[in-house]
Symmetry: C2
């Protein structure tokens, strides 16, 4: 990790922080009995090395071993993006040519396998993120088929768990993202009127979210704004159309402010008019539920304590929520901003830490 290899001006964290992250990942690898880790989750790749680019639709990864610097592997045209955003030195940037892209006969993972053999890890115990959106069934088939002497272990969430406790700089970025999402909802409040098109509301809040607040410029969210109105509010992952906002129906938003890939999501429901008593009851249940959950949000408690407090309060009002009541956030790339480690749900015994 020589200073001469480093593109300092683009890095979003001190080199020492990347170094610490690497050591945390290596510690987890050792604990799991993994010699070499193939990191395909784009947020894990970025967290470990700084690499940032919307190139995750082709095979790419960061390879972590016990001693050498992390290796970036990706498409030839994206190697420049690695040079511009990551601290990885030229000798650790490896690429495949465009003839591997969308080919029925060539697969990038066979090129990666050759690199792994060349570096002397052909018989290693290799960890792969098997349920990562960016490790396809075919990628794993080719990688494992090309390394007959290697042993493979599932390393899902191994790096994700290391990301759970945030550094001061990460918290600063997330607070910036929080300011952004507040500004986005302020704009929603200004423009949301019966008759305005959903797409025009989204245009307004995206404009504010991308400009950002103060020094916190707006980055793109890992998941686009969700909006459901009326019966569509029953479906959590619908996006907008040009239908007009109407009075006397629920209008649901799930938005995130984002700064330097760090997210602060916030959901809100609007109702233009006088809501029914049932909706008012649901509002009170959710507000009291959140309060009950927040009261349990202290170091030493368990994740499930928050879920129980929240769903217990909902139950008092006669409501049931069968899905999780929360999950960790931070760095994220499409298709989702969830950090994929702990969950606020019954049975999750993860201890909360400062």
């Amino acid at each position: 990790m020589g200073a001469s290899d480093v593109n300092d001006q683009m890095l979003r964290f001190e080199l020492s922080e990347y170094k610490m992250r690497l050591e945390k990942a290596r510690g987890a690898m050792e604990h799991a009995g993994i010699d070499l880790l193939v990191v395909t989750d784009p947020a894990n790749m970025g967290w470990l090395t700084g690499y940032d680019g919307c190139s995750y639709y082709v095979p790419q990864c960061v390879v972590v071993t016990k001693d050498k610097d992390p290796l970036w592997f990706g498409r030839r045209m994206d190697a420049n993006g690695c040079r511009r955003t990551a601290y990885i030195g030229e000798d650790r940037i490896k690429w495949y040519g465009d003839e591997y892209v969308q080919s029925d006969t060539l697969h990038a993972m066979s090129a990666l396998a050759q690199i792994i053999v060349d570096e002397g890890h052909g018989s290693a115990t290799i960890g792969v993120e098997k349920d990562s959106a960016c490790l396809s069934a075919r990628s794993f088939e080719v990688l494992s088929g090309s390394l007959p002497n290697a042993r493979f272990k599932n390393a899902d969430r191994l790096v994700n768990w290391q990301r759970l406790v945030k550094s001061p700089r990460e918290i600063e970025y997330m607070r910036g993202a929080g300011k952004i999402v507040e500004a986005m909802y302020q704009r929603v409040g200004e423009v949301l009127r019966p008759g305005i098109k959903q797409s025009d509301v989204i245009a307004e809040l995206t404009y504010v979210g991308t400009r950002g607040v103060d020094v916190y410029w707006g980055d793109y969210p890992a998941c686009v704004p969700n909006l459901g109105a009326g019966a569509d509010a029953s479906a959590p992952h619908l996006t907008w159309t040009d239908r007009s906002i109407r009075a006397n129906e629920s209008i649901f938003f799930e938005l995130a402010g984002v700064h330097k890939r760090y997210h602060c999501p916030l959901s809100r429901t609007y109702y233009l008019g006088k809501p029914s008593q049932q909706i008012l009851d649901a509002e009170k249940a959710v507000l009291d539920g959140m309060q009950a959950g927040l009261e349990k949000a202290m170091a030493g408690n368990l994740c499930e304590d928050i879920a129980k407090a929240y769903s217990g309060m909902l139950a008092r009002y006669g409501f049931e929520k069968t899905s999780r009541s929360g999950y960790p956030i931070g760095m994220g790339y499409p298709p989702a901003w969830g950090e994929n480690s702990a969950s606020f749900r019954e049975g999750d015994k993860t201890e909360l830490r400062a």
Copy 2:
């Protein structure tokens, strides 16, 4: 496909068009010797059934067999999204509970396997999109492990190839998307000045792109706007920061207008000032190359004819482009808008059709 099952008002195409698409897919399945197809690519899912929602970060699919209506399988909370957007009847909507999400012990694909067995396909030849971003290595491992009597075939791009020739309605949506991307670049031309922040330029063009043009409201792009300025223009998949636009450097954009999930991408490079002769030469080479390529764009020619005409013209000016010169577009979801079938590159003998 009874009329009573159908949520007509939300469908973006006539039922007859979905029916025709289904028959095209079934024809391709028969040709490939596949009894049951598990469609995980979100664009393929949407093209076949209308299903639309940003829920592709959890396991979900459309199952196509020879005789029964397509089956939607996904997370419980997303079943409502299926009811609101797809033509699939209630009896063909199957879901898994939230306890399967991000679990170390349960996997949604085991629930899908049980459904496949219950429907009498436990010994079928099953096609899966092995290199789809939405079929993880783990998903395939669990699915195939839970169906020991089934035979699996790789069905990558099987549905994608059926999408290549567009219907009149699809072309209408794409023309709408084209109007949108034109408007986005018009706004870029209005605001791009030395000193403006990259993030503010993106906010402006996203605002225009989301509002849309006339009846063509703007949907979200499968890939966020790419912007590279100065040395960053060498990296094709970087996104924006708050750095100021400067005079006398290349500024590269790759944007798409989008309407109802249909894309029209367009790349442009700006230069505020007097470009060097080398840049002017490159511009002329690209313009002449595109003209040469377009002259070959006629039914009966092959995809590689366009690539050869384009790269041949570049070579005359002393430039080399090692990556593809084009690919099909249409419906798309993150992480990319490419349709993943033919390519404009040497060796691709796909015949161009009207």
